[in-house]
C-alpha cells in the first residue's frame, strides 16, 4: 500500500525542501518507488535541489488543469531509477491548486509509487493545507528555536483537525514525526538555541532524527544533489538514519555533545 508523507513546518527556511529531497532520495535508494511533489507553487525550488530544473517541461499545475498527462510531467531521476519528481509551476499562484485536482493526482500516483512525498510551502494557507490534506504521515521539520517550534506546534494542531484523516472523525490520526534540522550542538549547549529535550517536551511527538547544521547541505543543493547521497557527511548520515527510522527501524539517535544522562532512553522511547 502506498503512503503519502507531507514534509511541513509552518515556518519558512527551516529545511523542508532540503528534507523532502533527502527523504525521498533516501527512500528511493532503498528500492522503494518514490515520487516527490513540489507544492510550493510560484517558488519552484525542489527541482533545483533535485538537480532537474533544466528538464522541467510540464508541471503539477498543468496536470491539475488537464493541460498535461501525469506521465508527461513526472521527471525520472537520472541517478536513482526508483525516484521521480513532480515539479511545480514557477508562474502560477497557489490558487491554481484545488482539492479535487490534488486528490486526483495523488490517487493516480498511489497506483504507481510506494511513497509520495509532498514538499509543503511555508505558512498555513491553501498550499500548505492541500499539501497535508491527503497525507497518511507527516514529517514536521523544526529548527531548535522558539518561533519555529511554535509554528510546528500550530501545524500539528492542523494535522489533527484539518486533514482528510482527521475529518473522518473515527479517531484515526496522521502519524507525525519530528525532524529537528539545522541543529548546532554548541549553540544548543550554550543555551543560545533550544535543547532537544525542550523541543520534544513542547511538541510531544516521536523524534525521527536530528540533522546537524552543516555546510555540506548548501554545497549539495548548489550542485543539485540530495544531501542524503553524500554518505560521508554528517548531515547525509543523519538523513539516512532518519529514513531508516521512518521505515520502522530502531536506530539510536546520535548527538555529539550536550546530552544528559537518561536522554538516550528518552529519545529511543519516543522513536517510532
Amino acid at each position: 500500500m502506498s503512503k503519502v508523507i507531507v514534509v511541513t513546518s509552518g515556518k519558512g527556511g527551516v529545511g523542508k525542501t532540503t528534507s523532502a529531497a533527502a527523504v525521498s532520495a533516501g527512500l528511493a535508494m532503498r528500492g522503494h518507488k518514490t515520487c516527490v511533489i513540489d507544492f510550493d507553487v510560484g517558488l519552484r525550488n525542489l527541482d533545483m535541489i533535485m538537480g532537474c530544473e533544466r528538464r522541467v517541461v510540464f508541471d503539477f499545475i498543468n496536470v491539475i488543469q488537464g493541460d498535461a498527462k501525469l506521465k508527461q510531467a513526472l521527471i525520472k531521476d537520472k541517478r536513482i531509477d526508483t525516484l521521480s519528481v513532480l515539479p511545480t509551476s514557477q508562474t502560477r499562484d497557489k490558487d491554481a491548486l484545488t482539492k479535487e485536482g490534488v486528490k486526483q493526482v495523488l490517487d493516480e500516483l498511489r497506483e504507481e509509487f510506494d511513497y509520495i512525498v509532498c514538499d509543503s510551502p511555508a505558512g498555513i494557507e491553501r498550499g500548505a493545507h492541500l499539501a497535508m490534506y491527503f497525507a497518511d504521515e507527516a514529517i514536521v521539520v523544526t529548527n531548535p528555536e522558539v518561533s519555529s517550534v511554535r509554528d510546528s506546534d500550530r501545524v500539528l494542531g492542523l494535522l489533527n483537525s484539518k486533514t482528510h484523516i482527521a475529518e473522518r472523525g473515527d479517531g484515526s490520526a496522521i502519524r507525525a514525526h519530528l525532524l529537528l534540522t539545522r541543529f548546532d550542538n554548541r549553540r544548543s549547549a550554550s543555551g543560545e538555541m533550544m535543547s532537544v529535550e525542550d523541543v520534544l517536551d513542547i511538541l510531544a511527538i516521536p523524534l525521527l532524527g536530528i540533522i546537524p547544521e552543516s555546510q555540506t547541505v548548501l554545497k549539495a543543493s548548489n550542485v543539485g544533489m540530495p544531501v542524503v547521497m553524500d554518505d560521508k557527511s554528517a548531515a547525509g548520515k543523519a538523513y539516512t538514519e532518519a529514513v531508516g527510522r521512518l521505515l520502522g527501524e530502531q536506530i539510536e539517535i546520535r548527538m555529539d555533545v550536550g546530552e544528559r544522562r537518561g536522554l538516550w532512553q528518552r529519545l529511543m522511547g519516543r522513536t517510532a
Binding site: 511554535r150 506546534d153 494542531g157 489533527n160 483537525s161 513542547i202 510531544a204
Partner: protein, 250 residues
C-alpha cells in the same frame, strides 16, 4: 430469522415496539418574579437586562412568578405580557404563585400552572441546560470534557457545560475555556479561563504552570504577574475576595 417473523406476524411487532415511553424528568427553569404591573418601566428594565447579558435567558425555560404582583393579571394583560416576552425570544411557559383569577388568565394565555418547585439563586450567569433524567432511567450525559491529546498553538478547547480535563501539554498560543474547572495533567503554557459563565468557585489546576494567562470568572492574571516561585510547579488557582490566588499543591 427475526425479520421473517415480523413479516409473518406484523401485529406482534407493533405490540413489542412501544410507540412511546414515559420517563420522569427534572430540569431547571428561570423564575421571573413580577413586582408590579407589566408596564413600560417593566419592559424597559427587561430590555436593559437582555441587553447587558444577552446569553442570560438564551434557551432557558421561564416561569412567571406572581407572588408579589397582586394587582396585575386580567386576561388581556396576561396575553400581552406573554406575547411581549415571546417576541423577545424569552421562552415563557409556566406560571406560579398566582391568585385563582391570575392562574385562570394565565391558562387562557397558554401558560401552564406550576406547583411545587423551589427557587434557588442562579450562581452562573446562564442557567444550566443539562437536564438530569431520573437516575433510575439513565445517568445524565457527562457535562465535562476530556482531552487526551496535546492542545496545540492556535487551538481553542471549550467545555461549555462543565469541567475541562486535559491529559497532556497545552502549548503557548492554545486556549482552554470552561464554564467549570480546568484540570491540566501536563504543562500549561497557553491560556486557561475557568468559570467563564461567572462561576466564582471554579478553579484551575495544572501539573506544571507556565501559562500565558489564567482567568476565573473574568478575573485574570497574565504570565507577567504570575508569582515567579510558582513557575513549573503543580498549582491550583482560585478566587478569594475577588483576587486570583495561586498556590502550590501536592
Amino acid at each position: 430469522m427475526q425479520s421473517q417473523q415480523v413479516q409473518q406476524n406484523p401485529a406482534k411487532r407493533v405490540t413489542t415496539l412501544k410507540p412511546f415511553e414515559i420517563r420522569g424528568r427534572f430540569f431547571t427553569a428561570v423564575a421571573v418574579h413580577l413586582t408590579g404591573p407589566a408596564d413600560a418601566a417593566f419592559y424597559q428594565a427587561l430590555d436593559t437586562q437582555i441587553g447587558q447579558t444577552p446569553q442570560f435567558f438564551d434557551s432557558a425555560p421561564i416561569v412567571l412568578d406572581l407572588q408579589n404582583a397582586a394587582g396585575f393579571g386580567s386576561s388581556e394583560e396576561m396575553g400581552l405580557l406573554v406575547a411581549q416576552m415571546r417576541s423577545r425570544n424569552l421562552l415563557v411557559f409556566g406560571i406560579q404563585h398566582g391568585t385563582d383569577q391570575q392562574m385562570q388568565a394565565a391558562r387562557g394565555a397558554g401558560l401552564i400552572p406550576m406547583s411545587g418547585g423551589k427557587d434557588k439563586p442562579l450562581d452562573r450567569q446562564r442557567p444550566p441546560r443539562a437536564q438530569a433524567e431520573t437516575p433510575a432511567q439513565k445517568a445524565p450525559e457527562p457535562a465535562s470534557r476530556l482531552i487526551t491529546e496535546p492542545v496545540r498553538s492556535g487551538q481553542t478547547i471549550f467545555a461549555d457545560r462543565g469541567d475541562l480535563v486535559v491529559v497532556g501539554p497545552v502549548s503557548s498560543g492554545a486556549e482552554l475555556i470552561a464554564s467549570g474547572n480546568i484540570h491540566v495533567y501536563g504543562t500549561l503554557r497557553g491560556r486557561a479561563m475557568a468559570g467563564v459563565n461567572g462561576d466564582h468557585n471554579a478553579r484551575i489546576f495544572c501539573h506544571s504552570l507556565d501559562a500565558e494567562l489564567l482567568a476565573i470568572a473574568g478575573l485574570y492574571r497574565t504570565s507577567d504577574d504570575l508569582p515567579a516561585d510558582m513557575r513549573k510547579k503543580n498549582v491550583q488557582a482560585y478566587l478569594q475576595d475577588d483576587v486570583l490566588r495561586i498556590e502550590a499543591i501536592g
